[in-house]
Symmetry: C2
Subunit: 292 residues, 2 copies
């Protein structure tokens, strides 16, 4: 059984990015520049954005953090988005979600120039991904594909069961795993309404669990030799920890791991890959890899 | 066993559209207007476009057919697309595919204003469909959803196996069948590289076959009581027919039908629904149902 080490892989990728950036800079090219908009003071969002800024530093990127109080109006926020769209020194940018309830997240996402949409949430990028065209792929699904590739997990013709149908993980994951170019798997998407979920999972060569229910995937649901990708990161109260909680995956790791050929731990699996993929998308933006 | 009669359903829907259009016209609203661009003289394309014009007449729509020789350059064609984008009297338009090899189909599709893209091929519409937002859904998948709804086929929590992963049928079909709003099925997408295809099909409550291989789905692949949607329309040589061919579905209808609870025939099943859905999309365009 192999532990798929997302932390180490992410570090390797960040080092690769840094190397490429320094080579480009030595050639006189401007450093890639990621901007982030943060509205309000949500604890989780603060942490994510801080980690994104740190990742930019690690990769040799320039970064700009624009902070706004949660009293900002949708109109004002859209004006800020537009300013970043037109700022030629910004290669890509993100608006950290969630946004306050009085602002339409979808309106903001659709206002972002798709050529700078390094989160890959704009419908143009979502659509191009589904069609199989070059585009920004959102960070978590892209990170999982990257892990499968780097660990040389065979996927073509294999059975992949995706648990969850969210717009940011389950659905794009399914789309990527069924593409001819990579993936090429037989893909089943299960969700809260699925009957026979256990039987579906038992058929899987690869299970990608993204439902946010701690320990949901148990040993009796896993075929011996399967590959398990655990996207779950639920905060579970834990008095023994300094911050009062621990992160729990969707998989009962202790009992499932011995059965698997490979498995991602939580934390240290899919999580660290996510910000790293945002960096790869930003590098692609700076290089105009997908769009002119 | 019930035959799902696409021809009759399409006729009903066209009559419904016609009724609504005449009511709108009586209120002083302009008739919906569909334009079609046809390049060259491909026999299949000529027939499709002719049928689309006839369907417009049946629905009380205005229609415009713009014909160009296959010597038209991509630049000239893009200029025509742009002219239709800007023509306020045109609600929606299509560019009949395939296009001559010297023209990039994707460039043409992406040049169409997504608000007039009644074929639903523009990445924005593809992306919005994946996310579950209101948009033009391409005709064949929308027609299948419409048939399932009108025949009150239960789908929530059921197992749906989609055979084929094309951008115009298999992939959007899978996305629609897994949405919470309608569909809500456990969805498996199988394709040329799938192992255990027979076993996958045997688990299905609903099989949607879109691979273009005549008679591929045989009785031993079908669970008794399953619902079969046959998207295949392959021309098979047939000397007994005046035109020298007959249309063959992907399903061995003769032997599969007795097993099913419901099945679409070929012809007369999914086929007639397709143009009909283009009409529904055009009506939606005229009413600005999805976009301002």
């Amino acid at each position: 059984m192999q532990i798929i080490d997302g932390k180490a892989t992410a570090a390797t990728i960040k080092a690769e990015i840094k190397e490429e950036v320094e080579r480009l800079v030595a050639q006189g090219v401007r450093r890639p520049h990621l901007a982030a908009i943060l509205v309000g003071h949500d604890g989780g969002s603060e942490t994510y954005v801080k980690n994104k800024v740190l990742a930019c530093e690690a990769c040799g990127f320039e970064s700009t953090l624009l902070r706004f109080e949660d009293t900002i109006t949708e109109e004002e926020l859209l004006a800020e988005v537009n300013r970043l769209n037109e700022d030629e020194t910004v290669d890509g940018f993100i608006v950290q979600l969630p946004l306050p309830a009085h602002i339409s997240e979808q309106s903001v996402i659709e206002a972002i120039d798709y050529r700078k949409d390094v989160d890959g949430f704009h419908p143009i990028n979502v659509g191009r991904m589904a069609i199989g065209l070059p585009c920004y792929i959102s960070a978590t699904p892209r990170g999982i594909i990257e892990l499968l590739k780097r660990y040389e997990i065979p996927t073509s013709g294999r059975k992949c069961v995706v648990l969850g149908r969210s717009n940011i993980v389950g659905k794009p994951m399914a789309q990527l795993m069924m593409q001819k170019e990579y993936g090429d798997s037989t893909v089943t998407v299960c969700h809260s309404r699925s009957a026979n979920l256990k039987e579906e999972c038992l058929q899987a060569d690869i299970i990608i669990a993204a439902i946010g229910r701690p320990g949901f995937v148990t040993a009796d649901m896993v075929k011996p030799g399967a590959v398990i990708i655990d996207v779950g990161t639920t905060r579970v109260p834990d008095a023994t920890r300094k911050n009062g909680f621990r992160l729990s995956g969707d998989v009962d790791f202790e009992n499932v791991a011995p059965l698997c050929s490979a498995i991602t731990p939580v934390p240290g699996g899919v999580g660290p890959m996510t910000i790293c993929m945002l960096m790869l998308n930003t590098l692609a933006a700076a290089k105009h890899e997908y769009y002119k």
